[in-house]
Amino acid sequence: MTILIDKEVRKAKYKKVAYYPGCALEGSAQSYDKSTRAVSKALGLELVEIKDWNCCGAMEVKNVDPEIQTYLSARVLSEAQHKSKQDVVMAPCNGCYHNLKKAEYDLENKDKSRAVTEKISKKAGHETYKAGDVETIHALDWIKFGYGEEELKAKIKGGLKGLKIANYYGCMYTRPRHIFPEKDQGRDSESTSKPHYMDDLLAIAGAENVEFPLKTACCGGAHTLSDSDMSTKLVLNILQAAEAAGAEVIATECPTCHSGLEMHQIRALKRLSKKTNVKVIYFTQLLGMAMGLSPRKVGLNFNISDSMKFVKEKGIA
């Protein structure tokens, strides 16, 4: 296991990566896709979209059959390795990122997962993915290490002008701990209890990160429609805690969390008469605007949480 690889090695490795947008970024989270691609272009990091990718199974397929969920991720990794010829896959969606990591863990540790993946891969007619062949990273790793924090400082134009931000990471980026062996390894590694990679990047972009206790709280995303009342309560906790911490914006790095916060902010107003004003914006959108990209270029107009006027007032765009 490569835990604390040299920063220079990671930088070279992440310069060109396979890109796995996933279903959400093709649909309801177009703004995350748009801003990720815009930031990639601005930083000169190359993205090779995986040909013929499939859904990772999100949070649903595992409840029908967990081994099928492992297979779905294994197929994506196999496509990246054998068709797109890449050994690093970057997934901005926490669901996709989490499932690829989970598949890696299962294929490493469980005989049944290996057997099922091999059986279905053969029947489907593609190469069987083997644990350890491809490294899965999040968009946060990709920018932090692929571009470098020092280098990023030089790229900031205008910046976020002290915008007060609550960084919200959600569940799937850090839990369960088993599937993230590279985290909690001390200096420079990500923490599963108090993640900070997004805080680090946005601080460089000129934000003032607030002390936010619910960084890894759950938004109820898995039951956003099937148990909406629970999700509304959980989201409202997050929105209110962010406002109490003095945040003007909640920065997100997961499409499920992002749409959950946007949807249930509206639902909390309609059903519980609880109004919150905090804006919900993807970290890639904030980073892009800090580098001088226009709000439209990072798809701010695609967000449900309307912050076009807000960013103009703040002098960010």
Binding site: V61, V64, R75, H178, C218, H223, I266
Partner: protein
Amino acid sequence: MAIHEKSLIRPENISSHEKKIVDGIDVSGDWSTFIHTRVVTDYNENLEEEIAALPGGEYIHRCWQCGSCTNSCTVNAENPDFNPRYWIYLIRVGMEEELLRDKDIIWQCVSCNKCTSACPRDVFPEGVMKATAHWMELKGHTPPSHSTIFDDVFTEQVIKHGKIEDGEVLKDFLLKTKQPLMQDWIVQMVKQMIKGFPVMSLMKMGWATIFHPKTKNWARASDAIKEHIAEEHAAQRKALGLDSAE
């Protein structure tokens, strides 16, 4: 000795008396609160094995009842009756009747995995919650929950096309659960969404709903997945002593 804590202290199981003298000593008031003597005979000795036979339940035997799962649980913070530690305890001693009291809330686990990260014994409690919710449905104790219906709608699309289209999942789910499409908050959301949308993107989204996004060369994978799921589900029904027909 087993401690069946919750059942012992439920109001209907506690006897208290306004006026009570025991051996000449006045124990009226709170002192007269007693727990009835009882004999528990309706254990289901197969319960732990049945849960362990379903996906996610495999490691239930490792639990040593520390309570880290319940302590960290997202849903427990909203509803104290949602108690993974207690349910794992009931399953392991086979107290089916007591478990069934909570049959309508077990499916509410949001899969945040806080329990699984906190568990010092690698029980993977999130999986145990899913296995228990499925057990309830397979045994016919509860109808399919909204969560199960959503999982099925979603998985069906993945198997068919390799990808999902979120608008279609939303529509199918609301239809299957007999909920109106035009709910106040959904209407408001769509209004806010299309306000900033360029016309081209709206057309693209409409296009996606009609011509579902698809993974190329998916047919063979789709067949192999269907075959595997059918085999697994048949094996699970067998392990629970149910007919092979779903």
